[in-house]
Amino acid sequence: MTAEALDSAKILEPSPVTQLRRRIFGHAGFLFGAIVIAAMLAMALLAPLLAPYDPYDQDLARRVINPIWHDDGKWAHPLGTDQLGRDYLSRVIYGVRISLLIGFATMIISGVLGTALGVVAGYFGGRVDMVITFLITTRLSMPVVLVALAVVALVGGSLTVVISVLGLLLWDRFAVVMRSATMQVRALDYVAAAQAIGCSAARIVTTEIMPNILNALIVVATLEMAHAILLEAALSFLGLGVQPPLPSWGLMVAEGKEYMFFSPWLITIPGVALFLLVLAINLLGDGIRDITAPENRN
């Protein structure tokens, strides 16, 4: 054996960047999710450039044109037109804006609320925990769809109302998961060490606890984002979410349901879009957890 073969540099583990790259490209779910989300984001941002028509432009002479895979499909309208003669491809492209906007905004509102409550409950424990656990139980005992329906029926449906209602209703899972994750981390010695050093509670929470519960937060955040998107679609389908003529996927399914037997693609196209987006978000969340989990870091 030569000295070169024993060169320690050659048996050193790969650099962290290389390791991260390997884990990302070795995770099919993450890759699929990331590509679909990236495409959807690009669609949302570049909608005016990508959409061949104005999604609100009606043309009653060209109602319910079949999409391109039918014999009489026309390249002028690749996904056909809806019952008011609006170009379906343009509406699907603009619809991703609504879904992503509702998903992100709801996730952020409920994430901030739920994480704050959960971390405070888990860190301080005792009476504080009892009060917050009571709040969580109260929230869990309210049926989301019914409360959302009631509020929207009272106030009237609009994008802002849907986002606020969902944001104020979906924080429970954040609170539950963050509370138990915080309790676990709080019992570890490095938190006691930080206390013995004289760190303030705010510093311990932000620098010692938060980085170690971030994985759980990411997973819950993606789940809740997908949840919010589906709920918006459900509310819009029931006519109590986003109001026409906004191109929401849920609303498109609702509007197409009368033509279901003769033009089923009016329902399947927005349905498949919704399914793809939700699947991609969930796969991305799982992937991020797998890739960043500390037990994989060695």
Binding site: L188, D189, Y190, A192, A193, A194, Q195, A196, I197, G198, C199, R203, T207, E208, P211, N212, P294, R297, N298
Partner: protein, 324 residues
């Protein structure tokens, strides 16, 4: 005689344990009237079985748990008047498990410099120098500054924990089982490092351990704790040569001998550890004591001075029949 660096006077810690929704809470005396003195440069070994209150005592000394009775003094000043950060400058812990005592998301450099940042000691550009000086002192290569704890071995992690505890130059270091989570081969390295640092920096240690060999090797004085009380305290030599309290004798007898033919020694501590919520009357050790007297189940013994230390046992009471 100088004042002790750290002194506890009759310190107690009582937890209220809830027995159920509609039952009254019951007191659990985790630490029950402990008086200890740590002189500068001393290593006080604290031994006792699990659940006897060692860790609660350590938490109180670190200011993480408020005593429910008695007081703790640093250089004669009561701890009650000091805030969290002032206590932190005087006393620092080294924990048992270096796998859970270091934040896995922070680099070694950032873990060791945390006390400097929290207490705003010196200028931010000095911090790296001070961290590297500290790493040299504890025998940690400087190239680990930007490593994460999971890239280090158990011994190296414990060195990081020691560097973090010492960077503020505390007076007292509380070592809670500093070696019991480490490989045997690494234990002696860490113990020798602690000894060297004590001489170099003039530190005072409270060494909590159930490994009597470690205590004998490190400590200058030893206190034996049983069910929240110190039952015997003495110089290490006196205590190991002539243990007085029956519990100390049993502990020493329970150490495994290198002679294989002797088998596992019988410590004569037949029955299990008593329930601390419902401690035995009189001397709390009497149900397990081979030498129990009639009065032991009725009268709690008082500390009896003995050379440099004391023993709490009726066997050594000069007026044995006073209470009987």
């Amino acid at each position: 005689m100088t004042a002790p660096v750290l002194e506890t006077r009759d310190v107690s810690c009582t937890f209220q344990i809830g027995a159920g929704l509609f039952k009254a809470k019951r007191p659990l005396h985790a630490v029950n009237g402990v008086s200890l003195k740590l002189m500068k440069g001393d290593v006080l070994g604290l031994v006792g079985e699990s659940g006897c209150g060692k860790s609660t005592l350590a938490k109180m000394l670190l200011g993480l748990q408020a005593p429910t009775g008695g007081d703790i003094r640093f250089d004669g000043a009561p701890i009650m008047g000091l805030d969290r950060r002032a206590i932190a400058r005087r006393v620092q812990p080294i924990f048992q498990d270096p796998y859970s005592s270091l934040n896995p998301r922070k680099t070694v450099g950032s873990i060791i410099s945390l006390p400097l940042r929290v207490h705003r000691v010196g200028e931010p550009d000095e911090w790296r120098d001070r961290v590297e000086a500290m790493m040299d002192l504890v025998g940690l290569a400087r190239r680990f500054t930007d490593s994460y704890p999971n890239q280090l071995s158990g011994g190296q992690r414990q060195r990081v924990a020691i560097a973090r505890a010492l960077i503020m130059k505390p007076d007292v270091v509380i070592c809670d089982e500093p070696t019991s989570a480490l490989d045997v081969s690494v234990q002696s390295q860490i113990l020798n490092l602690l000894q060297d640092l004590r001489q170099e920096l003039g530190l005072t240690y409270l060494l909590i351990s159930h490994n009597l060999a470690v205590v004998e090797h490190m400590a200058t004085r030893v206190a034996v704790m049983y069910l929240g009380r110190i039952v015997e305290e003495n110089d290490t030599d006196s205590l190991f040569q002539t243990p007085r309290h029956p519990y100390t004798q049993a502990l020493l007898a329970s150490v495994l001998t290198p002679e294989p033919g002797l088998g596992v020694p019988d410590a004569q501590l037949g029955i299990a550890f008593p329930n601390p919520i419902d401690p035995p009357a009189g001397c709390t050790f009497h149900p397990r004591c081979a030498q129990a007297l009639a009065q032991c189940s009725r009268v709690a013994p008082m500390p009896i001075a003995d050379g440099n230390g004391f023993t709490e046992c009726h066997l050594y009471n000069p007026a044995k029949d006073v209470a009987a």
